[in-house]
């Protein structure tokens, strides 16, 4: 209890002092998470919607289980895979992304993408199949049918965004492997928590954890408000 109490006071102290190192860590955490999320959304939403709409897609019986498997990818395995790709001997080692935020973004995008893809696909599939037919009967083109169906499944798509965001902001294995937890360069909240725990600074580690949870809560609050507004009609 004493450690927990000290953690709260340390967290408040860190926030109160506007600690520059902490701000840097929080900034990098948000930067890596939000850029990875944006890329995953840009790729995952259209592809997920297309697969969700193409109910007679050849190979679908194999593709859907593959996507669901991707949704459960262990982050540390993704980290290892990305590490091998980006290492000097790796196929894209020339990019020089290992131990940089770019590499961390790549790893987190690989984790978030199947989540966005699979949950968007499921959301689009859950729309009544009569809707596309009735939209076509109103004169919609295939593209308009797809867009309308996607908009109608917006609550499910928002859930995909929330799930992907939650999985990568709290992820540690991949960013640790690919980023290396270098102070001032690739240290994010989760890797800082691991480091402080190893050093025995439990109160500071917990304080960082509280800040991480606070960040996740604030962002999810925004997503939730969006979801409520979308479900209003």
């Amino acid at each position: 209890m004493e450690t927990l109490g000290r953690a709260f006071s340390d967290a408040l102290g860190l926030l109160w002092r506007v600690d520059s190192t902490l701000l840097e860590i929080v900034g990098l955490t948000l930067q890596v998470t939000l850029v990875a999320l944006a890329i995953a959304l840009l790729l995952g939403i259209p592809i997920g919607a297309a697969i969700g709409l193409a109910r007679r897609l050849p190979g679908r019986a194999l593709l859907v289980p593959l996507i669901y498997t991707g949704m459960g990818l262990p982050p540390v395995v993704v980290g290892l895979f990305t590490y091998l790709l980006l290492s000097n001997q790796g196929p894209i080692g020339g990019l020089g992304w290992l131990f940089t935020p770019a590499g961390m973004i790549m790893a987190q995008t690989i984790i978030a993408f199947p989540l966005v893809l699979g949950l968007t696909m499921a959301a689009v599939q859950s729309v009544d199949p009569d809707l596309p037919i009735q939209m076509r009967a109103l004169g919609a083109t295939r593209r308009q049918v797809a867009l309308t169906t996607l908009v109608e499944s917006r609550i499910g798509v928002t859930a995909a965004v929330v799930a992907a965001y939650g999985s990568i902001i709290s992820e540690v294995g991949a960013v640790m492997l690919v980023g290396g937890n270098i102070e001032g360069e690739t240290r994010v909240l989760t890797t800082a928590i691991v480091l402080e725990t190893r050093k025995g600074n439990f109160a500071l580690a917990l304080a960082l954890g509280i800040i991480l949870l606070g960040l996740a809560f604030l962002t999810n609050l925004v997503f939730h408000r969006l979801q409520v507004r979308q479900g209003g009609s």
Partner: protein, 240 residues
């Protein structure tokens, strides 16, 4: 006047099963054609063919004299619309749903036409209401307004008043009849309600097992049926 539709040798299959078998059918421009028949007769599938939502497995459809191919132009498709028995409304307001056809066409929303149809269908006060708060009758009226606001040349109605109360049935029938009279809209209405066809249709057809057994002026269809199955169907006997 050129017929709105001329169907020749139409056979449409789902798998091995022939669901529509209409060797010859003309639908006149500006008429109301009622199609009655038991469930599973192929009536709704025929409407899908007429709306070019499906391509017939065999046969030809001429629309206003032009032979249609598997790739019907968007302009032609947009002259036709269907009101379904179970309308799928978008999770938006009533007015936004009624405006959707105009949005799809990229035409500037004419709020007066939307308001006009909402008022005519007794939905004026519900314009800003979310559709989830509507009753079945109100939802069906929204679906009808959504179809009529784009001024279709052909309006296809697939059991539009199934499960509705007499007030809503009467209102929808009145609007449909008036639209046909005012704008010359060609209307095909599929219905289980024999009396509905008798009330609004110029001609009535009986469809059983994908075949159109009889088609005649509505008065004659009901007073002097030529096919024994029509007579049996009108008596309320089970026909198949």
């Amino acid at each position: 006047m050129t017929p709105a539709y001329e169907l020749t040798g139409i056979r449409h299959y789902y798998g091995e099963r022939c669901v529509v078998n209409v060797p010859d059918l003309e639908i006149n421009t500006g008429e109301i054609l009622g199609i009655v028949g038991p469930s599973g007769a192929g009536k709704s599938t025929l409407l899908r063919l007429l709306n070019f939502l499906e391509v017939p497995t065999e046969g030809q459809i001429r629309y206003h004299g032009n032979l249609t191919t598997s790739d019907v132009s968007l302009e032609t498709r947009r002259e036709i619309t269907t009101v379904f028995q179970r309308p799928m409304l978008l999770r938006r307001s009533v007015a936004a749903n009624v405006r959707i056809g105009q949005r799809i066409r990229g035409t500037a929303p004419k709020d007066n036409s939307v308001d006009g149809w909402l008022d005519r269908l007794g939905l004026g006060e519900l314009a800003d209401a979310p559709v989830r708060t509507l009753s079945a009758g109100e939802a069906q009226r929204v679906a009808l307004a959504r179809a009529l606001v784009v001024s279709p040349s052909v309006l296809l109605l697939d059991e539009p008043t199934g499960n509705l109360d007499p007030y809503n049935v009467g209102l929808i029938e009145e609007i449909v009849r008036a639209d046909c009279a005012e704008r010359g809209t060609t209307i095909v209405v599929v219905t289980h309600d024999l009396f509905q066809s008798r009330r609004i249709a110029d001609r009535t057809a009986l469809m059983i097992n994908g075949r159109m057994l009889e088609i005649a002026e509505t008065m004659r269809f009901f007073s002097d049926p030529q096919h024994p199955k029509t007579a049996a169907f009108l008596r309320g006997d089970l026909v198949y």
